[in-house]
Subunit: 243 residues, 2 copies
């Protein structure tokens, strides 16, 4: 694990890193020493490890929750090279969204292309980050919406170190099997008027989650319109389960 | 408004009252002076103003939130006389629940029997309570599950003094029209495995609510199994909107 820089602002230290071929960022509270809970944050489709939503949540989790937070670029995103097959699918996806057409089959194709690599990447990053003195082997949570949920579900299902997860903005039936293997507490966010994920599919995916503690939070609005107060709830959810 | 007694424990003052034919209870923080937000709490079917769930929530809202809280016995419940027609319906309802049969049509009949009177009772109690020095004319919220939601929806829809509401455990189609007239922020609680309210009807009732800010919280479990952490969320919801 190589760190490239270290900057600090508003009480949060930001350290971009590379682990093998995986570019990532670690955020920790300024002056952090010793073990603390760690949140892994998976970005959405077309986004990257420092997309505005990721950055805002990561800084708040570190500053207000005292968490360590790590984000990575998933395959074909951010600083990582894109495979020609992915480029074709992504262009097709954008064209369908513009035309108001269904994108569910492409979600599955995009997911299938990168899911195995992403799970392996997250497991390697988790191991490496927990070796750092100011992170350590504490409780681990995973946060991911949309593509971050699609890639997060198989990761959370496979990874016993993850003890709580916030997922959502997803309903792809290809995730049903992974969802059923998730047994840790889940907060699942759904946008009632999501133009990319049919409501019934989102509800079915929540239903498929295997956990006995799983809370669905639904709000009016489109895919990108998660209300601000859900971030407050997410922070409390992680504090309750990992704190 | 006649008060019958005044007891105090664990920082909360409890004052049973009668207003006309309506028996109620007012809870306020010990030493309360001046205007504060007020929560009106509607009990469930077969329950009353001091049912254990009402009492626990009321005491916590007063002690932790600094709210005034009022509960009443709705018609045919608690200390109020029961009409023969209501007795017949209630016996039929209990028999159907024991037999695992559908109760939706009886919900509607029970609701229709008392809704007008209940809305008038709540409006009178709200006016009277807000004349008290240690309550005053502050922001008002309404909390009610199950029958408390069925009777609460028309009340909240009709009463501009109510500024935020927590409702749920309901899905009766007879409420659709009242739900559509609710425009204040709503938190709507749904039990995913509710044996009394079909899931699809609960989701449809949430969908019908007219408010732009309305959050659905769903959790696994039966009608009576609301998880404890939802009470924390309710307290924060009211604090955010009425505080």
């Amino acid at each position: 694990m190589r760190f490239h820089s270290r900057t600090s602002s508003a009480g949060v230290v930001e350290q971009p890193f590379t682990l093998g071929e995986v570019p990532g960022v670690l955020w920790t509270p300024e002056g952090a020493r010793g073990t603390r809970p760690l949140i892994l944050m998976g970005h959405g489709g077309g986004q990257h490890k420092k997309a505005p939503g990721i950055l805002a949540r990561a800084r708040r989790f570190a500053a207000e929750g005292g968490f360590a937070v790590a984000a990575i670029d998933v395959p074909n995103h951010g600083e990582r090279p894109t495979a020609p097959e992915f480029d074709r699918l992504a262009a097709d996806y954008r064209a369908r969204v513009r035309a108001g057409e269904d994108t569910a089959s492409l979600d599955t194709a995009l997911y299938t292309l990168v899911v195995e690599q992403t799970v392996a990447d997250w497991q390697a990053v988790l191991t490496a980050v927990q070796h750092l003195d100011h992170v350590g082997g504490g409780q681990v949570g995973y946060w991911g919406m949309s593509l971050g949920c699609a890639l997060g579900m198989p990761f959370v299902a496979a990874e016993p170190r993850v003890r709580a997860t916030v997922l959502g903005l997803q309903g792809s039936p290809v995730l049903t099997e992974a969802a059923a293997r998730i047994l840790v507490p889940v907060q699942f966010l759904l946008q009632w008027d999501d133009e990319l994920m049919p409501r019934a599919q989102g509800l079915a995916l929540y239903d498929a989650i295997g956990s006995t503690e799983k809370t669905l939070h639904a709000n009016p609005g489109r895919h990108g319109d998660l209300p601000r107060f859900e971030l407050d709830d997410t922070l409390r959810f992680f504090a309750r389960h990992l704190g």
